[in-house]
């Protein structure tokens, strides 16, 4: 029983970490990276969402 629970949470923690990393990357890219093209395209959204923009 203990082994089963361990295996199950072991299986669960990896996808969760993966999703956390992916989500963080998406937010950093869309909301924070200062590359000119990205900044200009996302400018209005960054302001409206409350991210530090420029």
């Amino acid at each position: 029983m203990t082994t089963m629970t361990n295996t199950r949470s072991g299986l669960r923690i990896l996808p969760a970490l993966f999703a956390l990393a992916l989500g963080g990357a998406v937010i950093a890219l869309t909301g924070h990276v200062q590359a000119a093209a990205l900044h200009d395209a996302a400018h209005d959204v960054r302001h409206a969402t409350g991210f530090p923009c420029h």
Partner: protein
């Protein structure tokens, strides 16, 4: 499990992001465009001539506003991925994840990602004075991290030690203080800046509540689907 998180996050993020984008275009964008007239110097208050508070604003711009919609959907998909990752961990620990409980998750997400950093770095219109952007971004990520951890501790903590730690995590970034500009040099009227911050928070709360609700709903639905395919 990867599929379940990804599919739920994509659906929930796209739906909530689309609604958030439309709300932003209707309620926030006109305030932003109004502020830009002062940022660029097209309008200037406290001049010799009184300035109308209702100037003519540019209308819908397919390229600019289309990109805004797409980026809002992307940002909320990013939020959705983080939210569902934490939801999956919470479900493992016995929490019930559904559309209804997702509303609470959404409010917690709003506090962590919008209200906590916005308490000291309010959503700013273009053309206000602010400190260096990199320093503000570092403060923003640190504050969001602290607030998110605090939300988790408040929700799943079981004693006053843990809740006390959560309070410290919520307070610390603001006691330490956010990066502030050296001098105030913003040309935008305070009325516009205040309305902008209020509107940004309002739309953010609505969008986060929807995101949480959708995330819980799709998570539950994808679970039922996964169980059905497994037993078939």
């Amino acid at each position: 499990m990867y599929t379940r998180i990804l599919v739920s996050a994509l659906f929930a993020g796209a739906c909530a992001g689309l609604i958030a984008g439309i709300l932003q275009l209707y309620f926030v964008q006109p305030v932003l465009l109004h502020a830009e007239l002062y940022e660029t110097g097209a309008l200037s208050h406290f001049g010799a001539v009184p300035i109308s508070a209702h100037p003519e604003l540019p209308g819908f711009d397919l390229m600019r506003d289309g990109l805004s919609l797409i980026f809002t959907m992307l940002i909320y998909t990013g939020y959705g991925l983080i939210l569902l990752a934490l939801m999956s961990l919470a479900e493992d620990r016995g929490a019930v994840i559904s559309g209804r409980s997702g509303i609470l998750w959404g409010i917690a997400g709003f506090v962590a990602f919008h209200l906590a950093p916005g308490f000291s770095l309010p959503p700013e219109v273009p053309g206000v004075a602010a400190a260096d952007v990199t320093v503000r971004q570092i403060w923003w990520f640190a504050t969001v991290g602290c607030a998110a951890a605090a939300m988790w501790l408040i929700a799943f903590g079981a004693n006053w030690m843990v809740w006390g730690l959560a309070a410290i995590l919520l307070l610390a970034p603001h006691v330490i203080g956010a990066p502030e500009p050296e001098v105030f040099a913003g040309p935008v009227p305070t009325e516009i800046a205040a309305l902008f911050a209020a509107r940004a928070f309002g739309v953010g709360l609505a969008a986060w509540v929807l995101l949480g609700c959708f995330a819980g709903y799709f998570w539950q639905r994808e679970g039922v689907y996964a169980d059905a395919t497994q037993s078939a």
